[in-house]
Amino acid sequence: MPTTAALSAQGVRKRFHDIDALAGLDLTVAAGEIVGLLGPNGSGKTTFIRAVAGLVRPDGGTIEVLGRQTRDAVAAGVVGYMTQTAALYQELTVEENLSFFAALRGLRDPKAAISEALGVVDITSRRRSIVATLSGGMRQRVSLAIALLGRPPLLLLDEPTVGVDPAQRREFWSYFRTLTRAGTAMLVSSHVMDEAERCDRLALIRSGRVIAQGSAAEIRGRAGTADLEEAFLKLSDEPT
């Protein structure tokens, strides 16, 4: 396994008008690791994910993806990004949406990649449906399928399971594990604690900085609480 981290961020800063969205954020994600990004609304989770996806240019600090600058990594198609809202072309079918993004990523075998992604999110039977006719949860799955296309080495998932039922969520996570065994690194932002429990490591973010890091057990231990949600609330409220 290569020693380069899949994602390495150091001292990332970004200011929007008078708000420090990111205030010196440090985070690394190793290949084959799932890191959960937890934090209250407005803590900088989405800004950080967008910065890794090359959509926000930081004012300071460095972000490297597989040893490359974010923009180069994105251009090389090694980053799969799932936006918070299911950003899809409503007039197109599920399959047409996927093949569009497959083409943008320049996948060698787009057909196979599309079938695999459709299978993972269990939406193969609706592949010819127009996206506008799908329910919110289904659209979320299509959106995830797009990020998964071609198994990029780094997956950025911004609240991937919003509106997805628990059984389906379990399916997702077992697939995520299949991917990480093959070396995929994942950065997942979430509000769902049972999802956080499944991550290898959690990074608790507040005011654009990582205030606590470690496995779910370590976080619970540090906060001295029995469950993760309590720990999360306690650590979030602590003065920094």
């Binding site: 967008r50 959509l55 994105v74 198609g77 990004y81 936006t83 950003a87 993004f101 943008l104 990523r105």
Partner: protein, 376 residues
Amino acid sequence: MSGRRIAAVARRIVEQFRRDRRTLALLVGVPLLLLLLIGYLFTPSTGSARASVAIVNEDRGPAGAALADALAASPSLDARRLSATDAEGALRDGTVTAVIDFGPTFSQDALTQRRIALAVRLEGSDIFVNGNTMGAIQKAVFESISGALAKLQLPGASTAGISLNVTYLYGGPDWGTLDYLAPVLIPFLAFFLIFLLTDVSFLRERASGTLERVLASPLQRTELVIGYIAGFFVFALLQTVILVVFALYVLGLRSNGPVVAIFVVQIGIVLVAVNLGLLLSAFARNEFQAVQFIPIVILPQILLSGLLIPIASLPDLLRPFAWAMPLTYVNEASRAVMVKGAPLTDAVVVRDVGALLLLALVLAVLASRTIRREVA
């Protein structure tokens, strides 16, 4: 019926728009700007009503010279005295819009037939220019010639006896209003609709979040812009084919030029429309603002591009702005092709299509810049 509920709805609307500063600015700024433009446009100014004409005197008798002098001095005309050949050249290159010709037998006809006939040759490619020119010539004849005639003491001559024999270089009396308007209406419709289509759909791409996703892929911004141009071009071309076929073969409108030249000119303007739509969508935060841009983009083009008001008739201050309007170039080129029968290789057509392509390129570069800026 509850006054409080009604007030709640009304208050909410006021609060919403108070936050949308740009819409408020447009709401006030757009009408003021347009009112100013239209107001200025229709302020009577000297010069604008004058017609540029060439006066040719080939008369072997004395009458022609005297009347030509009188006519040339008329305040309604911006007249130059030319030989017949030079006058025809000036008519062709657009320096003058009409040639008034006193023929070799002018004096003789006046004496023997008691009839004064002026030969007027109109450039003819623009129905509005034709109207303005004829109006100016008639006014000049009415004002200047009667006095000159009285001095000449031709037996029986009077203004009532003057007739204008009008011939056309392009177009003609058998050309209907729509024959004249089709060359400018077809590109205008294409420009307007394609601009609208691109503007709104790129705004949707930004608003729905799909742009974010597209930009987080290996796709480059220039590739995105070129892809957009190519995609909309399919519909623009389809629209052009339908418009042209409908105009020429269903409505039976006239065109003297090759159909392929009509298409090339159309391609120039739709490329401008697509890129302008892409560029301006960056400055609209929502559909409402995008809609507000329409009058800003469209109305100055209608007023200043020679579509309805000949450029020569614009007030001096506004005339230079005509050449800042994409439609000006397409109107000139399209009239050259459809009315004058210019081929694709015609200098004016080449220059105008070149200007449109250059403008489209500049807009495309600016549009791809705006996509980049949003991301930074």
